[in-house]
């Protein structure tokens, strides 16, 4: 099965006023499979926001090829079409809310793509369910009367209502508290299940997606350095050189693994506890 989204040697440079060109992305090769959750991680300035926007068809690569569902995407019309299939959620998405009612705001996207009537309503309902937002309670309220967390859900629903095949999120966890993070992760899982869609999460902190992502793509200075699972990440790769750090889970898992323990899932506290327990028992000769 072809990957849903493929980047081949994609580069992107943008002109800085008075300083000529500056390369944000350099020869990126990336494949996102259907139903995958990929985390694109890198320190600030590594180009991850640029990569996200290129994937979403909002920026045109300076060189290289972009393939969606096996087909090349090149012309302006094709790129615009790509925007329908790939939903992009920017940082602080609640800054884009504008409509008189929550329902109208969520409907904005699908409406722009020509949906009306019953079909439109169905989409809005579906999106609201995924983000766990009750339309009975909130549908007719003004988006501006909601709490920050609720606003963010409305904004996310607005993009989900487009039913994109790939969802790209740029630093979605910033400013969220525990409840907010859990909500978001649950919504992403739900969305993936429903339509076998793929999710690309851009973040600077691996801790955010440690338990969510299937694979991690590490960016540094515009280049893709590694693409691995969390399990592979803890078995010895030095993230310090990329100006990144393993989350606490990963640090613990790595120490245990390098000490010889077996850790099948470096995101599961029970697994880590078991590994530690065996060390303790071994020590006491039990």
């Amino acid at each position: 099965m072809a990957a849903i989204l493929t980047l081949e040697s994609v580069s992107y440079s943008y002109p800085l006023p008075g300083e000529g060109e500056s390369a944000a992305l350099d020869g990126i090769d990336l494949q996102v499979e259907r139903g995958e959750i990929v985390c694109v991680a890198g320190p600030n300035g590594s180009g991850k926001s640029t990569l996200a926007q290129v994937c979403a068809g909002l920026l045109v690569p300076s060189s290289g090829r972009l393939l969606f569902d096996g087909r090349r995407v090149e012309s302006r019309a094709e790129l615009r079409g790509l925007r329908q299939r790939i939903g992009m959620v920017f940082q602080s998405p609640e800054d884009q809310l504008f409509a008189g009612t929550v329902t109208a705001d969520i409907a904005f996207g699908p409406r722009n793509h020509g949906l009306r009537g019953a079909e439109l309503e169905k989409r809005v309902r579906s999106a609201a369910t995924i983000v766990d937002l009750s339309l009975e309670r909130f549908g007719e309220r003004s988006p501006f009367s909601l709490s920050e967390g609720e606003k963010r859900r409305v904004a996310l629903a607005g993009v989900l209502a487009l039913e994109p095949d790939v969802l790209v999120l740029d630093e979605p966890f910033i400013g969220l508290d525990h409840d907010g993070r859990e909500h978001l992760k649950a919504a992403l899982e739900r969305y993936r299940e429903r339509r076998e869609t793929s999710v690309l999460v851009v973040t600077h902190d691996l801790a955010d997606t440690w338990r969510l992502a299937d694979r991690f793509a590490l960016l540094s200075g515009g280049r893709l350095v590694r693409v691995e699972s969390s399990r592979e990440l803890v078995s010895g790769y030095d993230l310090g050189s990329l100006d990144m750090r393993l989350p606490q889970w990963g640090v613990l898992a790595r120490e245990l693994v390098s000490g010889g323990s077996e850790v099948a899932d470096p995101a599961d506290p029970a697994e880590l506890a078991r590994a530690i327990a065996s060390i303790l028992e071994a020590r006491h000769g039990g």
Binding site: G175, D179, L252, P269
Partner: protein
């Protein structure tokens, strides 16, 4: 790391450390006393804060935690009279926040930095930005110069003096904001989620600076939802629905992951592992909150 551990176990500040930061015009009382504080935002049907009683002392590092909407920012803003109590009192450094004439003095003694690095900047160069506060106090240019230089030195940004703050990284902007607060020579520094929008390295740097400041006699009140940052505090205060739900040393308050989750916070990974370990029959000693501590214990 060990210094922070030391702080948690026996965290008294030495008298000499307190003296390194001048206390401002006249040394008022070295604490903030909050009694029966309630606050409701205009037009809201519920209280954002309900009957909060708490005390903050100079020279200690407090971490103020709570889920979004728990009232932590509201409490922070009641301390320096940005918000005035609906009921109850807040006495900051001996001054009543309800007294309008005392507000300028309160704001000089309680400096604040905010969450969004971009919306608190007013200056065109870093120097100008840091000088903004002292300029508002009408101090003489040479006094301002001195304060600006020592504040920038303390915050580690002296080399950025002539740069434009808006062109710096988010983390650097927050350091500039803190320098701006330090230039007021405050008794207390309140950080209203100043690390929420930053990457890990910048957050670390800010927390280190805040810890240093507490060591030098400034009372630090750091509002955050990152438990990692709270683990090195002298005292942790958790708010829930406008009330104080928990107060105490980090080792006490943050140890139980289920309780922490009930309060809407992300439990520390080590405490979750600790809970699983307990289920397998092994108890972690109290006070282990970070992976480094866990590994150190494991090796011993």
């Amino acid at each position: 790391m060990t210094a922070a551990l030391g702080k948690r176990v026996g965290g008294e500040t030495r008298a000499e450390d307190r003296a390194t930061v001048p206390a401002g015009p006249d040394a008022g009382v070295d604490e903030i006393v909050v009694e029966g504080l309630s606050y409701a935002y205009p037009g809201a049907c519920e209280d954002a804060l309900s009957g909060v009683d708490i005390r903050f002392e100079r020279g200690r590092y407090y971490s103020l935690l709570g889920r979004n909407g728990s009232g932590k920012s509201t409490l922070a803003r009641c301390l320096n009279a940005l918000l005035v109590p609906t009921r109850g009192t807040v006495t900051s450094c001996g001054l009543d926040t309800c007294e309008p004439l005392d507000i300028p003095d309160i704001r000089q003694r309680l400096a604040m930095v905010f969450q969004d690095p971009d919306t608190q900047i007013v200056g065109i160069t870093v120097e100008d930005e840091v000088a903004f506060g002292p300029e508002n106090l009408g101090l003489a240019p040479d006094v301002i110069r001195e304060r600006v230089d020592s504040a920038m030195e303390l915050a580690g940004i002296a080399h950025l003096a002539k740069r434009q703050p808006l062109r710096l990284s988010q983390g650097q902007k927050q350091l500039v904001a803190i320098a701006g607060a330090l230039a007021m020579e405050p008794a207390f520094l309140i950080s209203d989620e100043s690390t929420s929008m930053l990457d890990h390295a910048s957050r670390r740097r800010i927390v280190d600076l805040l810890t240093t400041l507490a060591g030098r006699g400034v009372g630090v009140i750091h509002v955050t939802h990152f438990l990692e940052e709270a683990s090195t505090a002298d005292e942790v205060v958790v708010l829930e629905a406008g009330r104080v739900a928990a107060v105490g040393a980090p080792a006490q308050v943050l140890a139980d992951p289920s309780r922490v989750m009930e309060l809407g916070l992300d439990p520390l990974p080590v405490t979750q592992v600790g809970k699983e370990l307990a289920a397998l029959g092994h108890r972690l000693p109290g006070g282990i909150l970070t992976v480094e501590e866990l590994l150190a214990w494991l090796r011993s």
